[in-house]
């Protein structure tokens, strides 16, 4: 079947037949080209401008890729910090964290105080029974 709007492309018969099959570029209704047409096509193909690459094109491309990578890393770091800040600002978590820190401080402080108190008590006993005059 031919497309109605003269795009010279066959309908895709497998695809419910409602639209043009734009994927295919094969012009099906044309007969095999004549030698003139072939010549013309070759000429057209050759006439197509092939833009010259600017100087240091490849280097610049790599640089842009690297910059893009860097900004992606930076963005991911920023998003990580945002997530952490949001996590900290949750009231339940903030209170739980504060409670854990206070508890840890109390336990550590108690242990340290007990150790120093014990060592003071030992020093007091020793100074009573083994005075420094012996040393």
């Amino acid at each position: 079947m031919r497309c109605n709007h003269k795009c010279r492309v066959w309908f895709d018969s497998s695809n419910t037949g409602q639209r043009c099959s734009n994927n295919t570029t094969t012009i099906m209704n044309e007969p095999m080209s004549s030698p003139e047409e072939t010549k013309l096509r070759t000429l057209l193909r050759e006439a197509r401008p092939s833009a010259e690459l600017p100087p240091r094109f490849q280097e610049n491309v790599w640089r842009r890729i690297e910059r893009a990578d860097e900004s992606a890393t930076f963005a991911s770091r920023a998003s990580w910090l945002d997530a952490l800040a949001a996590w900290i600002l949750r009231p339940q978590l903030a209170f739980a964290l504060a409670a854990v820190l206070v508890l840890a401080g109390l336990v550590l402080g108690w242990n340290s105080g007990e150790r120093s108190a014990r060592s003071e008590a030992q020093a007091r006993y020793l100074s009573a029974v083994a005075p420094n005059t012996l040393h």
């Binding site: 964290l97 820190l101 206070v102 401080g105 029974v129 083994a130």
Partner: protein, 165 residues
């Protein structure tokens, strides 16, 4: 990077550190004040060797009996040290008098140390067997270890190697 997020994280860190430090210091001071509030010389023995009231009473009796003897020895040693200092004062050599005072001081120290070790042994016997052994070992380590350390440091020092002068 979001400045606000960074500020929040840093602020949270600061608050966390402040909370930890404050609670640590408060607990440490409170514990030190309440545990060491007693001025009892035997408080360490009671805590460290988990003595019962009866055991502590027996140890206290021994301790109170020993303290006057210890004070007498201390006075004698202090007096002998003064005599030795007088004998050494102004002398460019070790005189016979100074040597005599040194020997007397040494003898006094031996007597004092013997008396002290005897007291430790008595106290250890007033404790439960295991605690008594631990107490005696600890007291010997502390009171005799000091001299051992000095002797070891002298024997290790190249300047004190005997026979190599």
């Amino acid at each position: 990077m979001n400045r606000r997020s960074l500020t929040i994280v840093l602020l949270a860190l600061g608050v966390g550190v402040a909370l930890l430090a404050t609670s640590f210091l408060v607990a440490q001071r409170w514990c030190a004040r309440h545990v060491t509030s007693s001025a009892d010389d035997l408080d360490w023995l009671r805590q460290e060797f988990r003595l019962s009231d009866a055991e502590l009473a027996r140890v206290r009796e021994l301790h109170d009996g020993y303290m006057p003897q210890c004070a007498v020895m201390c006075k004698e040693i202090a007096a002998k040290k003064r005599e030795l200092e007088t004998a050494l004062a102004g002398a460019t050599n070790v005189t016979a008098t100074a040597e005599g005072k040194l020997a007397e001081l040494g003898a006094l120290r031996v007597r004092c140390q013997t008396q002290m070790l005897r007291h430790f042994a008595e106290v250890s016997q007033a404790m439960p067997a295991e605690q008594g052994r631990r107490y005696l070992a600890e007291m010997q380590r502390i009171t005799l270890g000091f001299h051992e350390q000095i002797e070891q440091s002298m024997s290790q020092s190249p300047a004190h190697e005997h026979g190599h002068h």
